[in-house]
């Protein structure tokens, strides 16, 4: 039996059209309350349109554009409530699809107002109609069944019978040849991933896969536009309008009833074949848990994400943290901050056998001061407060390399995400040559934030960037004011930004980075260096693990992306002395494989690794 009351209050059962019109939004919002669940189902963000809150924009896994969903109305037909929704797809300006969408839509996409208008698309119906790709329909018969349908043409075609030309500086240019397609949009394949995500969310909250699937086809006209404004329609057999209807049964033991058509189109049943056998909505749910809508039943046991935040006093760590906490708190995520400084007051508590002191508990965060053992403190904080993020904040005195080896014991209980270093644009340049500890902080960082950029000349920032690049060519570099940067922009949705190779927008110290020349030697007076390695063959998971665990403690970090064994997918590799973490890469792109070695003598480590590889090469070619 499906408990609709989890989604909508009891009175909705007696108002079928109200329930039908609210169910998609209620389902989408409720699954988005839980980060692990929304990730797993395929959601990558959602927001209500500010001026039309029943409409929403959303991002889903695997698609670069933004979807829009807008209710179009609802009716009661006998005892069934029927609601319809329009589905829109607003492509990213870099998508190939821009070559297949109408010129009018293309002009909107490259206009200044595109993202503003998209966020509130129901306010601009003319604009939005250019991006309308499908309809969704929901029929709800209380105590009986619920049917969710996607209705979209395979392709939407518009032919410019007289062609389309533009007068440019280079003369008259033909944009669309006579009788050519101005629009040939693959509506079905654009709309289906969104529909699949919505339907999977339904299956998840209902704890049931659909009991019936029906595919129907009708004719979809191609529009023929003439320069005089006349528009004709022709129907082509190869381009149907398709309707995919999924039915969930609300009571056990009932058989699905095929519903009557409510529109004038001539629907014919079609054979879905095996096309939808692998659809995500069919996934059986894990039964048996008392609270079904829970991470463990989804197989999602997220570990707290660990960020090590370094930087000298006054570099802006506190303001960065307050922005970070605010951002996460507004998403129902909880942050624990541990300040890794043993203060004078901490000594009394240490005598009492405590490992940390709670300094502050606030909106979305707990802030603790470390008293004694860091790993024990982290363990206790994690079990007591179940944070989503754990931030270990260190000031100028701590060497992050030591910290990393200390944290290696926690590899099974934390997801190692980032070493982030704050650098003060105003004073950092002067401090950098004088403090080896600051150089070390930069050397081991994944991300360096140059803060207070509003207080210095741009030339000074460029200089500082070169200095940072010289110490760590592989970190990502950002400029901030008052520590204010969106964590999503900084780390990416799943921290995938931390695992990729940084863009080499700045050449370190003016020399080419594959042959550090004589000029660079001055940067190497200190023992820690970083070096990039690219695989020339495959290595197995065990081999990599054994190799990394065998490294001397003078190699502080090894991180990067690799394909292991014969797997197609990428693995994120995180190593600190005597600890290795290998987790699947969750980014949507396909970046190059690499490892970065940070420590004293990375060349020797790389030589060891290369010594393992040739053997593999032979095996693979054999």
């Amino acid at each position: 039996m499906i408990e609709l009351s989890k989604l909508l209050p009891p009175h909705c059962q007696t108002e079928p059209s109200f329930a039908a019109s609210h169910l998609p939004r209620a389902t989408m919002m409720r699954v988005n309350f839980i980060p692990g669940v929304r990730q797993r189902l395929g959601w990558r963000g959602m927001r209500a349109c500010p001026q039309a809150p029943m409409s929403q924009t959303a991002k889903i896994d695997g698609m670069t554009g933004i979807y829009g969903i807008k209710p179009e109305g609802c009716i009661d037909a006998n005892d069934t409530g029927i609601a319809t929704f329009s589905i829109f797809y607003f492509p990213d300006p870099e998508e190939e699809i821009l070559n297949q969408i109408s010129l009018s839509a293309g002009i909107v996409v490259y206009g200044d107002q595109y993202s503003e208008m998209m966020r509130d698309f129901p306010q601009y119906p003319d604009m939005a109609s250019l991006f309308h790709i499908a309809d969704m329909e929901l029929r709800f018969t209380p105590d009986k069944q619920l049917t969710l349908s996607l209705v979209a043409p395979e392709r939407d075609r518009v032919l410019a019978m007289d062609g389309i030309y533009a007068d440019t500086d280079a003369g008259r240019q033909m944009l669309v040849e006579p009788q050519g397609a101005e629009q040939d949009l693959p509506c079905w394949s654009l709309a289906y991933p969104f529909f699949e995500t919505v339907a999977t969310s339904f299956s998840y909250v209902f704890e049931a896969a659909p009991a019936a699937l029906r595919l129907q086809c009708a004719r979809h006209p191609t529009r023929l536009n003439h320069a005089d404004g006349k528009q004709l329609f022709v129907e082509e057999d190869d381009n149907p309008l398709k309707a995919l209807r999924l039915t969930w049964m609300l009571e056990d033991g009932l058989a699905p009833i095929a519903e009557a058509d409510i529109d004038a189109r001539q629907w014919k049943d079609a054979d879905p074949g095996t096309d939808f056998d692998a659809a995500k909505w069919n996934n059986p749910l894990v039964p048996g848990a008392r609270h079904s809508m829970d991470k463990s039943t989804m197989g999602i046991e997220e570990l707290p994400k660990l960020i090590i935040l370094t930087g000298f006093l006054g570099s802006g760590k506190t303001s960065f943290l307050s922005h970070f906490i605010d951002y996460q708190a507004s998403r129902n995520l909880f942050v624990a901050v541990i300040q890794n400084e043993i203060g004078e007051r901490g000594l009394d508590a240490r005598l009492l056998g405590q490992h940390y002191a709670v300094k502050e508990i606030d909106e979305g965060c707990i802030c603790c001061t470390l008293i004694d053992n860091l790993t024990v403190a982290i363990d206790q904080i994690c079990s007591q407060y179940q944070p989503d993020f754990l931030i270990v904040e260190t000031t100028g005195l701590a060497n992050p390399a030591n910290l990393l080896s200390e944290l290696s014991e926690l590899q099974d209980r934390l997801e190692f995400c980032s070493v982030t270093c704050m650098l003060d644009a105003l004073n950092g340049g002067a401090a950098l040559p004088n403090y080896a500890i600051l150089q070390d902080q930069i050397r081991v960082a994944d991300t360096v934030l140059i803060n207070k950029v509003d207080l210095v000349e741009s030339g000074q920032i460029d200089h500082l960037k070169h200095e940072v690049r010289a110490l760590n060519p592989y970190c990502s570099l950002h400029e901030t004011r008052e520590g204010d940067i969106s964590p999503r922009e900084l780390y990416g949705v799943n921290f995938e930004g931390q695992h990729r190779e940084a863009n080499m927008e700045i050449e370190p110290c003016g020399c080419s980075h594959d042959g550090h020349g004589e000029k660079c030697v001055t940067h190497h007076h200190y023992g820690i260096r970083s070096q990039l390695w690219r695989p020339t063959g495959r290595i197995s998971k065990e081999q990599l693990r054994d190799f990394l665990l065998g490294l001397p403690p003078t190699i502080f970090r090894v991180k990067g992306l690799l394909r292991l064994d014969d797997a197609d997918s990428l693995t994120v590799c995180q190593h600190v002395p005597s600890s290795v973490q290998l987790v699947p890469y969750r980014g949507q792109d396909d970046p190059a494989e690499f490892l970065v070695f940070i420590g004293e003598g990375p060349e020797e480590a790389i030589a060891q690794l290369n010594a393992i590889l040739p053997h593999l090469d032979q095996k693979q070619s054999a």
Binding site: F33, S86, N99, L103, A160, G163, H291, N332, C365, Q386
Partner: protein, 385 residues
């Protein structure tokens, strides 16, 4: 496609350089959508809710719980944000079986004999049977309205959570006497959440006959709790949309899904003569932007001005597809409120951002366990008009 060039490249150049005029008469058609919608659209209109002279809001308590970490830990350990709030075993509904294993029926059975007259005894029983008992606080506010003819009227918004904390807070602000003297004509419940609604017996202890407005969307447990708490007055279930209560004061119910299996929030609009619209909210789960937009499209108000705000300004938890727009601070600027009094679920960091951004935030005194002067804290007042 039959075109041999990259359309993107061409269009990029067009929109940034030459402009769109060049398409002029070259056969660029305007489009209608794939097909017209075949179901009718609902028409909406502006509503006159009347005017009042002034509204004074007293913050009885904005501290819904004392330690967020404990609350979040409980929610996670019980199974997450979709778990039915009556199952947590939080006060007052405890069966002694531990976190996430509670039920309304078992919890209420233990305390019903003491409701609403003996809350001390009830709280003893509750302390023995619930989890995180001392973490409960509550949200409640008093609205003092002056009508145009000088008549004074009082409304209570929400009744908090912990019987103990709310009774202390009511006494501190003199709410107990106002209720006993029948000076408060109605209790408006913003939504069914534990921290706004479960302290109901504290109001009923002093005035069991009080009229209660609840938003449409309450679950059976919630409706039963009103009866089980010893309420003897009228319960008005407000339908989604606008509900006029007295001249110049209306509530609006938003059909919005909320965490812990709650649905629907009721917020208050006051139309203050010569000043403009004042919004008083519980949590504002619908989002302040939606709340303000609804007022804009549905209400007529003085000088067409957004005058003031009091209460929680809940930030939408899902706005993550575009990092550029994830900041409520930016969005709020568009509404140009004259007075902002925020607290509760707004988030202290957010409130401090409002102050940094130069918004007219009314500072609090950080008394009675309120934490920061960026909030209108417990016992603070704000007058609109």
């Amino acid at each position: 496609m039959t075109t041999s060039f990259d359309r993107r490249t061409f269009l990029k150049g067009t929109t940034t350089g030459v402009g769109l005029g060049l398409f002029g008469a070259m056969g660029l058609y305007s489009y209608s959508s794939l097909r017209e919608s075949f179901l009718p659209q609902v028409k909406r209109k502006m509503n006159d809710i009347g005017v009042l002279k002034s509204v004074n809001v007293t913050n009885i308590s904005e501290t819904s719980w004392f330690e967020n970490a404990i609350l979040m830990g409980d929610i996670k350990k019980a199974g997450g944000l979709l778990v039915n709030q009556y199952d947590y075993n939080w006060p007052p509904f405890g069966n002694g079986k531990g976190l996430g294993k509670g039920s309304y029926a078992e919890g209420i059975a233990k305390i019903k004999p003491y409701l609403p007259h003996d809350l001390e005894k009830a709280w003893e029983v509750i302390s023995a049977n619930t989890v995180s008992t001392d973490n409960a606080g509550g949200y409640a506010a008093l609205l003092d309205i002056e009508e145009m003819d000088g008549t004074k009227r009082k409304f209570l918004l929400d009744s908090g959570w912990s019987y103990k904390w709310m009774d202390e807070s009511f006494k501190r602000e003199g709410i107990d006497k106002m209720l006993e003297n029948k000076e408060i004509e109605a209790l408006i419940i913003s939504h069914e959440h534990f921290d706004h609604f479960w302290g109901l017996p504290v109001t009923l202890k002093y005035d069991p006959e009080i009229t209660i407005y609840i938003p449409e969307g309450f679950y059976e447990e919630g409706k039963q709790y009103i009866k089980d708490s010893g309420h003897k007055g009228k319960v008005i279930e407000v339908k989604n949309g606008l509900n006029k209560i007295i001249p110049g004061l209306a509530t609006y119910v938003f059909p919005i899904p909320i965490i812990c299996r709650v649905f629907g929030e009721q917020s208050i609009y006051c139309n203050v003569k010569d000043k403009g619209l004042v919004s008083v909210t519980g949590c504002c789960h619908q989002g302040i932007i939606q709340f303000a937009e609804t007022a804009y499209t549905e209400l007529a108000y003085e000088k067409d001005n957004f005058y003031g705000i009091y209460g929680g300004l809940h930030i939408s938890p899902f706005d993550d597809w575009d990092p550029k727009y994830d900041d409520l601070v930016i969005s709020l600027k568009n509404y140009d409120f004259d007075v902002i009094g925020c607290n509760h679920c707004t988030g202290l960091v957010c409130a401090n951002k409002f102050i940094q951004a130069g918004y007219p935030v009314v500072r609090g005194t950080a008394k009675h366990r309120s934490k920061d002067t960026a909030y209108l804290g417990n016992g603070d007042q704000i007058k609109f008009g």
